[in-house]
């Protein structure tokens, strides 16, 4: 089992008597990318703010780097952490470069870090422009550059692709993927889009109405996508009854073909043989995986949202 870099126990946040984050126990393994998924208002940002000690939990415990997150440890834990929470933060009267300088001063980092992170997020060209004149995507990049200052061993990114153009999203994705390999960084990244997370994450946590409804390897989530097999023939009706009689399987008819439940390879070949023996021409046999988005949506729906 991997080392858990972030661990929470029964973490809860109550706003005005409503449990916005409800008893969640997160495990974020070291050196991995953890995708934190959930619909709007699920409690993602609230959870991440608690992880950063920006707001106090109403209950439960957080441990990061094996240290308990509290008022006393907070700043020392955060020294090794880069973060980007919700909307980007910046000083409009300062240039991008000067904005990063503030962080370097406060985090005791050499100014040489600034040019490094600026080139990582491809913002060298805009470093002398005032941040108030940046576009949303540029502000987001500045925020990311800020999070990357000092090569932190943990990154908490709250919807980092917000406001980025497709090329920017692509760059961001490859950047995020490269970090664990290059520096062993652990990354927790939140999003509403499973399709986005699917491409970067090793682990997925799904939160809905403040509750964790799934937390495991991405592969496990993919396995949950119950597969089925679709067969198309020149006479689907006849084929269906042949399968029913000979194979003891209950086929389902649809416009796309005959839908059969998941079968192993031998059963598939037997079925095909049987159809051929009955003089049915087979056009195609395909696997159908329920896509992850559907799994996600059905999970969230089950939870009553």
């Amino acid at each position: 089992m991997d080392n858990q870099l972030i661990k929470t126990q029964e973490l809860t946040k109550i706003y005005h008597g409503r449990k916005v984050v409800d008893n969640i126990s997160l495990c974020v393994p070291e050196g991995k990318i953890y995708g934190f998924l959930g619909p709007n208002g699920a409690g993602k940002s609230t959870t991440m703010k608690m992880l950063l000690g920006l707001i106090d939990p109403s209950g439960g415990k957080i441990s990061i780097f094996g240290k308990e997150m509290n008022r006393k440890n907070r700043i020392s834990i955060l020294k090794q952490t880069g973060s980007l929470i919700e909307s980007p933060s910046y000083y409009g009267n300062l240039t991008g470069y000067e904005n990063l300088k503030i962080s370097c001063i406060l985090k005791k980092l050499p100014f040489s870090e600034i040019s490094r992170v600026l080139s990582v997020v491809r913002m060298e060209g805009n470093k002398n422009k005032k941040a108030s004149q940046y576009s949303l995507g540029m502000k987001q990049r500045l925020g990311l550059a800020n999070a990357l200052l000092g090569k932190p061993s943990l990154l908490l990114l709250d919807e980092p692709t917000n406001g980025l153009d497709p090329a920017g999203i692509h760059e961001m994705r490859s950047l995020i993927r490269s970090l664990p390999e290059e520096y062993g960084t652990t990354i927790m990244i939140s999003s509403h889009l499973l399709s986005e997370m699917e491409q970067v994450s090793d682990y997925i946590g799904i939160i809905s109405s403040g509750k964790i409804i799934f937390q495991d390897k991405l592969l496990k989530l993919q396995e949950l996508g119950s597969e089925s097999i679709i067969i198309n023939t020149d006479d689907n009706l006849k084929a269906s009854s042949v399968i029913k009689e000979n194979m003891n399987i209950n086929p389902e008819m649809s416009n796309n073909g005959i839908i059969l439940p998941f079968m192993d390879n031998t059963t598939v070949s037997q079925t095909v043989k049987c159809l051929v023996n009955n003089n049915i021409n087979i056009y195609r046999v395909t696997d159908k995986t329920k896509n992850l988005e559907e799994i996600y949506l059905s999970m969230v729906k089950e939870n009553g949202l």
């Binding site: 703010k49 950063l52 000690g53 920006l54 707001i55 106090d56 907070r74 700043i75 955060l78 952490t81 973060s83 929470i85 919700e86 909307s87 980007p88 933060s89 910046y90 000083y91 409009g92 009267n93 300062l94 000067e98 300088k101 503030i102 962080s103 001063i105 406060l106 985090k107 005791k108 941040a131 800020n146």
Partner: protein, 250 residues
């Protein structure tokens, strides 16, 4: 603390804060030159006391707005840029607040120091010198400015609309001016703007027959200075507590 001050002063870049103070000092300088030129020494006495009164009066008129604008400048960049969250990930919430106050104290200290330098210059030119009076002038002005700063900061730190604190300071300026001319009302003791008047320990005797004016010194109102200092401390603690809870809600 040095790092926090460094960061804080970088944040003020291109905000013309220092220019604002310099202009204000220039106005004070002009006013003093104007008020002390062409004095008819047959008609009055007590130039030392006159200069003191004049400095307090001009401070009543221009400093509250300058201090309010200064507090606004310190706070609005954080609100506009949504930076409190970012800063809180690098420093304690308390130290953000302390940094703001420290910058305020330093700027106000220098602002007062320059004024005190004018006063001493006038003294040298007019041939009077009293280290005690100069010191008390410095302490009084510094204390009132600091009280005004703490008062304004309390609004500016979380007010999305920074015009409100400015309007409050303009209202305060008028209230402060009234307190000079309405000595029979205790108004000046209950508002921070009134303390320029409270701590100005001069009096005027005007004889309408001979048209002779005498500016004189009265005993220093130490009691009210202590009251003012207590107010500064209380306001500081109150604002700090409120700041920490407000930041959590943002």
């Amino acid at each position: 603390m040095i790092r926090i001050l460094k960061a804080e002063s970088l944040k003020l870049k291109r905000r013309y804060v220092y220019l604002m103070f310099a202009m204000s000092l220039f106005v004070i300088f002009l006013w003093m030159c104007y008020s002390l030129s062409d004095l008819d020494f047959n008609k009055f006495s007590g130039i030392f006391a006159l200069a003191n009164t004049d400095l307090f009066l001009i401070n009543t008129i221009i400093s509250p707005v300058i201090i309010a604008a200064f507090a606004t400048r310190l706070a609005d960049i954080e609100l506009i840029g949504n930076t409190y969250k970012w800063l809180s990930c690098m420093q304690n919430t308390k130290s953000i607040f302390k940094g703001k106050v420290a910058v305020g104290v330093i700027c106000i200290f220098l602002y007062t120091l320059f004024q005190c330098a004018f006063y001493i210059l006038i003294g040298i030119k007019m041939d009077f010198y009293s280290a005690e009076k100069f010191t008390m002038f410095f302490i009084s002005v510094f204390a009132v400015l600091l009280a005004l700063f703490m008062f304004q900061l309390n609004f500016s730190l979380w007010s999305k609309n920074q015009l409100t604190p400015l309007f409050i300071s303009i209202g305060g300026t008028f209230a402060g001016l009234f307190s000079w001319f309405l000595p029979q009302y205790p108004l000046r003791f209950i508002i921070p703007w009134g303390y320029f008047c409270v701590l100005c320990n001069n009096g005027i005797n005007y004889d309408s027959v001979s048209r002779y004016t005498e500016y004189y010194w009265t005993g220093y109102p130490y009691f009210w200075l202590v009251v003012l200092i207590v107010y500064i401390v209380l306001q500081y603690m109150y604002t700090r507590g409120k700041f920490i809870t407000k930041i959590q809600e943002m």
